[in-house]
């Protein structure tokens, strides 16, 4: 970093300044408040010095110097605004304006086209007086310099235009106008250096140059992932965000700083709001994302305005009892795909089952029915599912409601379905379920393993930092049976047979021990039970591992050596590790690998299970887990319980509650009678949906609180309309343990209320008064009961949040954990033996099904399928199959197929893709019309109680034309 270098003193326009070595003239001038005009430079991008508007005079230099790239030297004398320089700049702007549409789309909308602003400054364009010209019909007034190249009435275009009209509207989110492009390269660098996607380049030579996508494809057909970085850095109207809601200039909007509602990366964003509408979202500088966003964060915000939003409480009509599914999709009728390939629920199918009610009536009904069940069957017959999409405050209140008012610990949320096994292993081995190092630490790592994580699609912004680290010298090892796009940036990519993770990881440990690459000192000082591990992995020679996993023995040795010899190595993992019946074993192996090499407690080392939901870390921290209160304080520890009993003023259940899948089983078997569902949609997210369907229908009473009428809500007795993410305030904790404030940008529609207010109402009506004035007040109560959060306050969180642990209000949160010891003292090696998956493929069901997500969609699609842009990019379900398997099955890309497991059948289109191994198929689980979880197996990991989402046996059959006809005629 330049700040570490020696100071250099120079003069700029006669004023002396001392800056650190390596500073550019442009930066130094900026520090003096001298503005050197520039078109191609952006402080976030490496300089390229191609626009040359920033030319300055340096005494003694033969020619003008580009200030954006020329580094300062001691004694340098720089002049930034001479007559000669003004002539050069004016001429350049004049040259560029000749081909520029006036006004370009950006100037027309926001008056901030960098080129036209310079044109106005140099008197080449008329300065418009405050009032914007709203239409292009109002041509700019003729003026001297633009007239220069007028030739018999027509302007000579200096750059012959290659394409028809220079417009490319093929991308759903970005409008391209090549005429407005000044070839400043900002978009290219934004794509290459910031997002590391490398889609944009230049095409054509010299005067015919234009920006091009891939091999000069229309943007919408290229490999562009629609992150919008190019449009964010473009200085002109060449790359513009397409308006997704109302089209108003940003100057007329109000900016609200918040965080992104989607994944666990927790990017800082700014909403631009006008007329209770989010008009646009921008990335905001923060230690997390440094202004970067992905397609969901930038373009996936209009769901809040969707007409299907719930606006009044709903009560099920008497004639729709006994309860059952309402829509054809949820009933699971076949042939439905014929009429509706892709798409969200048809409210005409489901709304007639409900009548509108007042909040009073609905809340009274909820409170009385839940109380009734509690009185009749005992507290254990009640259960609640909170949500990792709600705030820390809401998670805290929800578990408080279930524990203090319902009187049971039967409270859980979707963390059970993502990292429960990782947390179980981490708690058991080191005593803390959170990440040891923030993901940005990868920049300090010599080696990084990313295993079981499709990072570019599930944590897109984190992936940009991974790719950048790989470019800058971190050896990146990507391990996954289904080849993730990140593998393209990796130094090593390992693919093994699905479900053989333990065998492979044991093989790595075998080699590391056998070749003496362990950190014996660390093992002796800070760990226990190494002998047992040694005993277990002894048998996993690379040759044995090759037989089990299909990875060549030599490759096992190579990876072991690369990781084992690294000075600082980091491990990232995702659902590919955790969502197995051996999920806890998988995580144990990763932890052992880390411990035996002493790769923990320093920057660039450690363990980072990438958290899925935006607040899965926070919801767990806030006690939305059946075994623990806030801050992982166990319900079965008497002193802890006493503390909470005192704080909450009621006696609490000392027995840990049931987990997500166990609660569903309870409902199925009649032991769970009443449920409160806040923002969860188990009908799509839980395994073996047929069972879930029966279980939900079997509940005596179900209240669902959500922003849309979800699949799960079809089974509800009462539906409560909640405020969506941008409609409320709260804190959210990202994968790094960073607690950040999400701020209210717009008002909720109709009578919808924030979740925390609804919880308070129910609690109060059930006889436990809950009164809070603001989320901040709830947050204060939460941190007062949580030692690791004790130092946090809204004031301290500020605009970029704060990491926990943070016990001291006067000290910053800790970035690197376990520097000297583990929460449980010594780290424990827990050996694991390889066990095959529960349902192996056979002659009848020959394929292994892997489920997961796609970049554009989020979980059960409730939000993203109602976001225009996201739905346009990825509108329908698909099954990805290896091309060779396709030809064996006689299928072609785009054919309709029937995919069946022992539990169900779905019909969807096939997509040919060689990222999936031969013998495997991949189906994203977002799509109600072909719900992947109809097929999955509800076998659980014995420790983390996480279901096996990543492995079950299926068969694939072509949908025959006759059946098509039959289905069509039945419709």
């Amino acid at each position: 970093m330049s700040t570490m270098h020696a100071p250099v003193t120079l003069t700029i326009d006669g004023r002396p300044i001392t800056v650190s070595e390596g500073t550019t003239i442009w930066e130094a001038a900026r520090q003096l408040g001298i503005d050197i005009p520039v078109l191609c430079h952006d402080p976030r991008l490496p300089p390229v010095a191609v626009c040359r508007v920033c030319a300055v005079e340096v005494k003694g230099a033969r020619v003008a110097q580009a200030a954006c790239i020329r580094r300062v030297e001691a004694g340098m004398e720089v002049r930034t605004h001479t007559d000669q320089l003004t002539r050069v700049r004016r001429m350049l702007v004049e040259l560029l304006l000749a081909d520029h549409p006036i006004p370009c789309a950006k100037h027309e909308k926001n008056r901030d086209c960098a080129l036209e602003l310079l044109g106005e400054q140099y008197g080449l364009l008329p300065v418009s007086s405050g009032e914007r010209e709203r239409t292009r019909a109002a041509a700019p007034a003729p003026h001297q310099s633009r007239g220069r190249l007028h030739d018999r009435g027509g302007t000579i275009r200096v750059r012959p235009r290659v394409l028809e009209d220079g417009h490319d509207l093929s991308s759903p989110v970005i409008a391209v106008d090549h005429h407005a492009c000044i070839l400043c390269d900002r978009c290219i660098r934004g794509c290459d250096e910031i997002q590391n996607n490398e889609v944009i380049g230049r095409t054509g030579k010299g005067a015919q140059t234009r920006i091009g996508f891939d091999l000069n494809l229309p943007m919408g057909q290229s490999t562009c992932v629609s992150c919008g970085e190019c449009a964010a850095v473009c200085p002109t109207g060449a790359l513009m965000h397409k308006p997704l809601t109302i089209d108003v200039p940003l100057s007329e909007t109000k900016a609200v700083d918040s965080v992104c509602p989607y994944c666990g990366v927790g990017c800082a964003i700014t909403y631009h709001v006008k007329d209770n509408t989010i008009v646009q979202v921008s990335g905001r500088e923060s230690p997390v994302n440094h202004g970067r966003l992905c397609v969901k964060g930038r373009y996936g915000f209009d769901y809040a305005l969707h007409p299907q939003r719930l606006t009044v409480p709903l009560i099920r009509r008497a004639e729709f009892y006994p309860k059952g599914p309402l829509s054809k999709d949820v009933r699971g009728e076949d042939g439905r795909w014929q009429r509706k390939p892709g798409g969200i629920v048809d409210y005409a199918e489901v709304l007639p089952a409900f009548r509108e009610a007042s909040w009073e009536e609905a809340l009274d009904l909820v409170a009385s029915r839940l109380k009734q069940i509690k009185d009749r069957y005992g507290p254990g017959a009640l259960a609640g599912f909170g949500s990792a999409k709600c705030s820390n405050e809401e998670a805290y209140l929800f578990q408080k409601l279930v524990r203090a008012v319902f009187g049971t610990n039967n409270v859980d949320h979707c963390t059970r379905l993502c990292h429960a096994s990782s947390v179980a292993a981490l708690q058991e081995t080191i005593g803390s379920g959170a990440v040891s190092n923030v993901f940005a630490d990868i920049q300090y790592a010599d080696v990084a393993i990313v295993i079981g994580s499709n990072t570019t699609e599930n944590h897109p912004v984190a992936a940009t930092f991974f790719k950048q680290a790989a470019k800058r010298g971190t050896t990146l090892i990507v391990i996954d049976p289904r080849r993730p796009a990140l593998a393209d940036h990796a130094h090593y990519y390992i693919s093994y047979k699905p479900g053989t993770d333990v065998a492979f990881l044991n093989g790595l440990m075998h080699v590391i021990i056998a070749e003496g690459l362990i950190d014996a000192d660390f093992i002796a000082r800070r760990t226990e039970n190494f002998a047992a591990l040694q005993e277990t992995v002894k048998h996993y020679t690379p040759e044995v591992v090759e037989k089990l996993t299909g990875v060549p023995a030599e490759q096992v040795r190579t990876i072991a050596r690369v990781y084992g010899r690294a000075k600082n190595a980091m491990i990232f993992w995702g659902m590919g590790i955790s969502q197995h019946t051996t999920g806890t074993d998988n995580a144990r192996c990763l932890i052992s690998l880390c411990l035996m090499t002493g790769n923990i407690g320093r920057p660039g080392t450690g363990l980072h299970p990438l958290r899925g939901q935006n607040n899965v870390q926070g919801a767990s921290d806030s006690g939305l887990i059946p075994m623990v209160y806030t801050d992982y304080q166990r319900v079965d520890t008497p002193q802890v319980r006493e503390k909470f009993e005192k704080a909450w003023g009621v006696a609490l259940d000392p027995k840990p509650g049931l987990t997500v899948v166990e609660i569903t089983h309870g409902a199925l078997h009649g032991t769970i009678k009443g449920m409160y569902m806040m923002g969860e949609n188990p009908f799509l997210s839980d395994p073996n949906i047929n069972k879930v369907r029966k279980a939900l229908a079997n509940l005596e009473f179900l209240v669902v609180q959500d922003i849309f009428l979800t699949e799960t809500a079809e089974f509800a007795d009462v539906i409560l309309p909640a405020a969506s993410f941008p409609e409320k305030e709260g804190t959210y904790t990202n994968t790094d343990r960073r607690v950040q404030i999400g701020r209210k940008a717009i008002d909720p529609p109709g009578q919808a209320r924030p979740d925390w207010q609804i919880i308070c109402e129910i609690a109060t009506r059930m006889g436990y008064p809950m009164h809070y004035h603001s989320p901040e007040e709830i947050f204060r109560e939460l941190v007062s009961l949580s030692p690791n959060l004790a130092g946090l306050s809204y004031a301290k969180l500020g605009t970029s949040g704060e990491l926990w642990p943070c016990p001291d209000p006067h000290a910053p949160g800790q970035s690197v954990l376990f520097t000297d010891s583990f929460p449980k003292g010594k780290g424990k090696f827990v050996p694991a033996e390889f066990m095959p998956a529960k349902e192996l493929p056979d002659a009848e069901f020959p394929f292994v099904l892997n489920t997961g997500r796609v970049l554009e969609h989020w979980h059960t699609g409730t939000m993203t399928r109602r976001a225009k842009a996201l739905d346009a990019i990825e509108p329908e379900p698909f099954v990805e199959i290896h091309p060779e398997d396709l030809s064996t099955l006689g299928l072609q890309d785009g054919d309709w197929v029937r995919v069946s497991s022992r539990r169900g059948t779905i019909v969807l289109k096939v997509r040919s893709g060689n990222r999936t191994q031969k013998g495997s198929v991949f189906i994203p689980f977002h799509f109600r019309e072909a719900a992947a979880n109809l097929l999955t197996l509800d076998e659980l990991d014995p420790y983390g109680k996480i279901p096996e989402f990543k492995f079950c046996a299926v068969k694939v059959e072509k949908v025959r034309e006759q059946e098509d006809l039959a289905a069509a005629s039945a419709a």
Partner: protein
Amino acid sequence: MAERVLLRHLDVPDIHKLDVYLAHGGYAAARKALTTLTPEQVTEQVKASNLRGRGGAGFVAGMKWGFLPKDSPKPVYLCCNADESEPGTFKDRAIIEWNTHILLEGILITAYAIKCHTAYIYIRGEFAFGARRLHEAIAEAYKAGFLGKNIFGTGFDLDVYVHRGAGAYICGEETGLIESLEGKRAYPRIKPPFPATYGLFGCPTIVNNVETLACVPSIIANGPEWFKSIGPEGSPGPKIYCVSGHVEKPGLYELPMGMPLRTVIYDYAGGIRGGKKLKAVMPGGSSFPVLTPDEIDVHMDFDSMRKINAFLGTAGIIVMDEDTCMVRALEIIDRFYHHESCGQCSPCREGTGWLHKLLLRLEEGNGRPEDIDLMDRIAGNMMGNTVCVLADAAAMPTQSFLSKFRDEFVAHVTLGRCPLKKNGTGHRQAA
């Protein structure tokens, strides 16, 4: 000069063949260098000879080699710049096609001097015949043990690869050449760092012109004093002059450095065609200022040319007689730079286009009085404000044409046609 070095094929037929080349002392210099001299001694001799780069810039070759970092762990590369594309320049092509082995020998000696084991010859795509000749000669050299492993039993290894360009002038710019060799668009790099420290694949790299490298064997064979004895002290050695345009005998002439331009045109190239009068001459290819008849007593070497604000360049002498329309001639030149600008920097990409279009307009008879000053202003503002010197290469001839032949440009505006033609627009005699 008694014996030609660079155009020796005119004296010794078939010298592009290895056996002929060997029979006339070929590879003796390389053998001498590799077996009796250290790399440092070879560099010293070349430095002492004051051999200046023949690609146009005239930088002292031995000094350039000396810029290589002494203790870099990275490999060193040598790139032979055979992307000869300068209008009016066709000297490297002759060496490549007809005196092929002298180039390979020069590469071998240079590679030894700079401790390089991989050399690339970046040859202009259109030189298909030259590329074939190179492939044949390289195959012969490998077979004879002059390339490959353990050359002359010294343990020195060298591999030479031929890379054909794809038709862009900018690939002749040394950093554009390097980018192109790396498989990228030939966008010149910002300097510093210079290729000697950060070149091909980020490694120390020397880029030398064909003619420069072809001079090296004779320096080793005859000694630096011999080389310095040819031509002026400041820029000595044999030099190929390329004469084209309106002369009786256009072609290549190998003469000592520093010949008076008049002598080259009138004594060697036979004077102006058809006994016409000389109007203008571009002495260093199309990239440098034009000279008028009263300036042609200048001596053709780097230093003498600079004294009259001209450049030796590639010594591509383009001669124009009295019937040449200077507007038309400049339009052809600027059309070339408009077409060949890589498009990276806006002053060049946009400026060359404006110059060309304005000249077209002038030539079509639609020029405006202010267009002449506008062109001068555009050219002036392009100069020195781009990553590479292509913008300067377009600006310098433009400004010199405008100042030295201003009347003719004004006449095009006032008459609305070319004054040299009675009724038509411009005519096509130049170049």
